[in-house]
Amino acid sequence: MTEHTEMGVAQIRDGVANGDFTAVEVAEAFNAAVAAASDLNAFIVTTPDSALDAARNVDARRAKGQDIGKMGGVPIGMKDLFATDGTPTTAASHILEGFVPPYESTVSAKLWDAGAGMLGKLNLDQFAMGSSNETSAFGNVVNPWRAKGSDAPLAPGGSSGGSSAAVAARLCPAATGTDTGGSIRQPAAFTGITGIKPTYGRCSRWGVVAFASSLDQPGPMARDTRDCAIMLEAMAGFDPKDSTSLDAPVPEWEAGLNPDLSGKRVGIPREYRMDGMDADVAKSWDDGIAWLKDAGATIVDISLPHTKYALPAYYIIAPAEASSNLARYDGVRYGLRDLPDGAGLQDMYAATRAAGFGKEVKRRIMIGTYVLSAGFYDAYYTQAQKVRQLIADDFAKAWESCDVILAPTCPSAAFPLGDKVSDPLSMYLNDVFAVPASLAGLPAMSVPAGLNRDGLPLGLQIIGKGFDEQGVLNAGLAIEQRAGFTAKPDTWWKA
């Protein structure tokens, strides 16, 4: 029999349902894998008992002949941005140290209801602000992949870097992520796994620590397309507690999977083929085009003329919303309080926030505060919101001639830790292909396409029309079946 930790979501769920093995056996195997992988620093907190309790429940339900749920017996990792009742939730920031939520986020509650168990809380960029998992107050996550002939530690991507590293290293079959400007897709691409950001509003943001509310969207990260479809079904759904939650039924994405793309048109945005594009990235894009043709699709050239303005617009809108959202960390209601001797209320706010927030978080709060300040609001924020509309209009126009869009997920494979920390702009540019779909609220996923010259994974991105996760998943499945991506990182982290 396949080792439990080599199995994905569907295989575990079906195996437990059929009685091939028990949910407890699975949870024990993954708990052991997590315990042996501390070198990756993927988890902030591990919760082996929680995983075992959930597994015992599933086994008991099965013994009684009851339904075990869409995720029955599947232990998962939970990005530490989701509030979990009774388990510390930090957003990887000192300012939330000691915070133990007395409530459960909607998405995590839905997963537990579907029979999943929690292996632990996964590391991330602080407040999900970063593309390399180097802004966490709990240290860098290390990518399980290494370049051929090198043992230099690589970035796992960000902000969902703990999630991507843990899934790639087989510490969990799947994990939650959140995507504000690429935080599911870029780490998935950097670690050779699959991740989908659904249409904005599909998954509730209630109980997810807020970064940029008009962009934040939870989604699944797993080893393949089917596993993502299963987990997304369990996570999605209307939530009256989130004012931007979509009041729409959740489609049966798993049952609807179909890799036959006959009659479908795939758009190739010419603005994404940038000067000086990495040769291996360009080749994997060409491979993707050939695979989708082979699956029956027609390839069409499209134009998204405002692409180059997406990233600068994002770096006004996201910090603006962050500066407002993060005003709640004041040393009064929860988390850290730094009260210097004799300090008044205003000094306490300033001292607490200085001590609690990391460098990148402060930088973004400062940018956000500046672009929203009197006299600059129109020049920066209003202008960015107008450009955001033009970017959404570009996509709307593209849908007149295509059904999905194919592009690279990132401009490069995983880069070494430390490579870009001193240059925020070069770090931001990593999300150049991911941000446009975020600004337009569209579903988008990354699937592994192959390895580059250094033996590192590359991802291909599929962007779909709003609400058409099925079209995105189907194109992802068509690529997955033709890419035949079976490579795995060497398990150097196991002592």
Binding site: P312, Y315, Y334, G344, A354, M366, I367, S373, A379
Partner: protein, 100 residues
């Protein structure tokens, strides 16, 4: 537009983040770098374009005007609300003295 030390000090104060002189000094070129880059948005012709307020057509809902319309977001959970407060006092959030 670019920022100087005085502006950064003012922003830090608006953002309620204490910063040393050295930190302010280091932040000036960092912010100018980013602001200089986002200013390319100024070259986009946005004549007649409304600023985007929402990505999906979605009417904002109102909840029933009653306490505990949803028990999870309703009242009656004072102790839970205060459970994580650094200095709760007599069922309230405690803060340093504001009025002399």
């Amino acid at each position: 537009m670019s920022v100087d030390k005085a502006t950064v000090t003012k922003i830090a104060s608006l953002a309620r983040i204490a910063m040393s002189d050295a930190e302010v000094e280091a932040m000036v070129p960092e912010l100018n770098n980013i602001l200089g880059w986002v200013e390319q948005l100024g070259e986009v012709d946005v004549t007649g374009v409304e600023p985007m307020a929402t990505v999906v057509p979605n009417a904002l809902r109102l909840r029933e005007d009653e306490v505990n319309a949803d028990p999870k977001t309703g009242g009656g959970v004072r102790d839970k609300v205060l459970a994580n407060a650094p200095a709760p006092e007599h069922g309230f959030f405690g803060v340093p003295k504001v009025i002399e």
